[in-house]
Symmetry: C2
Subunit: 343 residues, 2 copies
């Protein structure tokens, strides 16, 4: 009923699926890249968030603790930023057998060569230095993602543009299944492209990563935040306050763009910095204040959530059970499409 009172858009029919590999706590990069958007999306769409433990294992098969120890961390992060389990279904990939079953059916419709051409997979393989020993599960994870997306009838997938090949792969599978079934069993999906560029690490060198120590986690203490901002990469040639400084590649300004709500104020700061006369100490202080304000309530909420593991498990269990029913329906349709509905 609530939905019907909203202005007429596609929010009634569109389904959103997002998720995270459960391989570490979430950080500010996740916050600005996806979490903040999900908090908004849950009011507009039926949204499912998948805690992707199986996908996390595709490159951690021999180190599963990295995945298993982070499942509840990720759920606590979700709740702490304001994802509401009454509005968003939060579920655990490994608790939904239909996702694995759908993967088996789809894997017969995607060639090995097609997977090897996938630009996202190609990039990730290069970054991970697997050498000749790419796990089969890693090469085939775009098929598993297609299973995830279609199992929830998701039509809108929030992604960065580096993930567009995944959407393409999913829609190829959707079309093949519908052609085999001679029936529109599955729906194609569309990307919901994030407007925000990927947040750089605090050292400006790479992607944020907890293990690299260049990420600000969502449960960072006041002290950690302060230290991280103070050590942030700025303009190495900006050695005195009166000199003009560079904005490009200056992590402090990238973060101000991402986290400061007053665009005009940030634009003024940039102009001053470029003209000369604004020191890094001052810009860092402004950023630190903003991040302390942002993270304090998240950290405090998260501490309460992580203290009550049985509540986190209950939320994940309830969401997974609801998702099972939904995914099983899609699986049954796909099996019927293949003629495998004897009993």
């Amino acid at each position: 009923m609530h939905h019907l009172s909203l202005p007429h858009t596609d929010q009634n029919t569109q389904r959103v699926l997002t998720g995270d590999r459960a391989t570490g706590q979430l950080h500010l990069g996740h916050f600005v890249g996806s979490l903040a958007q999900r908090v908004k999306l849950q009011h507009q769409y039926k949204q499912t968030i998948l805690v992707a433990d199986l996908q996390g294992l595709t490159d951690n098969g021999h180190n599963p603790n990295k995945v298993s120890s982070n499942i509840l961390n990720v759920v606590a992060d979700y709740l702490a930023v304001g994802i509401d389990p009454l509005k968003t279904t939060i579920c655990l990939q490994s608790k939904i057998p239909a996702l694995s079953e759908l993967t088996m059916y789809y894997a017969n419709l995607v060639s090995v060569a097609r997977l090897q051409r996938n630009p996202t997979v190609k990039n990730e393989i290069a970054n991970k230095a697997f050498g000749a020993s790419i796990p089969a599960g890693f090469l085939t994870y775009p098929i598993s993602q297609a299973a995830d997306i279609t199992a929830f009838n998701a039509t809108l997938i929030p992604v960065g543009d580096d993930q567009l090949p995944m959407i393409e792969q999913t829609n190829e599978i959707v079309r093949k299944i519908n052609a085999i079934a001679q029936e529109k069993i599955l729906q194609e999906c569309k990307p919901l492209l994030s407007k925000v560029a990927r947040l750089p690490s605090t050292d400006g060198q790479s992607k944020m990563s907890k293990s690299m120590g260049n990420a600000i986690l969502l449960d960072s203490t006041q002290k950690t935040i302060s230290k991280a901002v103070k050590s942030m990469y700025t303009d190495p040639n900006h050695i005195s306050i009166d000199m003009p400084g560079r904005i490009e590649g200056n992590v402090v300004f990238t973060y101000l763009d991402a986290f400061h709500s007053d665009e005009k104020f940030v634009a003024n700061l940039k102009a001053q910095y470029q003209a000369g006369g604004l020191g890094d100490g001052k810009t860092k202080k402004i950023l630190e204040d903003r991040l302390q304000d942002l993270i304090k309530p998240i950290r405090e909420a998260r501490a309460n959530f992580i203290d009550d593991k049985s509540q986190l498990i209950a939320i994940l269990k309830e969401g997974s059970e609801r998702s099972q029913d939904e995914a099983n329906q899609v699986l049954n349709n796909v099996k019927r499409g293949f003629g495998l509905n004897l009993f």
Copy 2:
């Protein structure tokens, strides 16, 4: 109780898994290569037979009817040759979600390069002329077979020697899982090598195949059997009765070796044939009589079984449900080994 009265061998602990891709009716090649053995094995071991519809799809993804239309055919073939559903569990691969789930876990422990080196897969890829478009599901089917074997705690796998690499691959996965779990969760398996060589097609040219019309199906009519034997490949140079004939490559004698119970009688026939004075008409008559005797009761039993589809479904359903419980236990152990047992 029955088991305990048998002489002390390993029959109480060994578990047998066999199965067939559900891609066609079974023929005399299956009978001599595996079915006859299974009828015996069911009295000695706890035996599970998997109707492998998912594996059948790995090279029939775009033609699933070839699989779905043959599931009950295969079950009827089993019952007709004397496989007893009270002694042997007959189950359907697609009805046991744990098999797909285990495949997902195992796929993270096997490299793409390892799969590409598998001699059986290599051979089959060459035979099937997939070109560059090997389906991912086909390349990875040894992983799915390892899931099948381990899900039923099978320790004894009846195979031809061309399937030995599959056993090796399974045991590699078993050792990796046990190492990760630091616990003996899964058991290694051993091949039970068939003594019988692969039965040639009636034209002596290749493997038997229903579509090639060179296989004698288990429901062949009297007329079809007669025609098939009469057209069998013998010795093309044996153009008159009094000439010596060749035994090697002579399909009639290969079939007599496989199906005639009196070895001495067959040895005498061979000697006569090689010496000259024995015509192909006579050897073919002897073989035809034997095959008519063999197939008649199978054909008649099969006609009754295939007439009662609901009984076939009930048998498959009951076996699949029992198998689900068993496979779920193994899956839970593997998940616990990976630390994925939150709830």
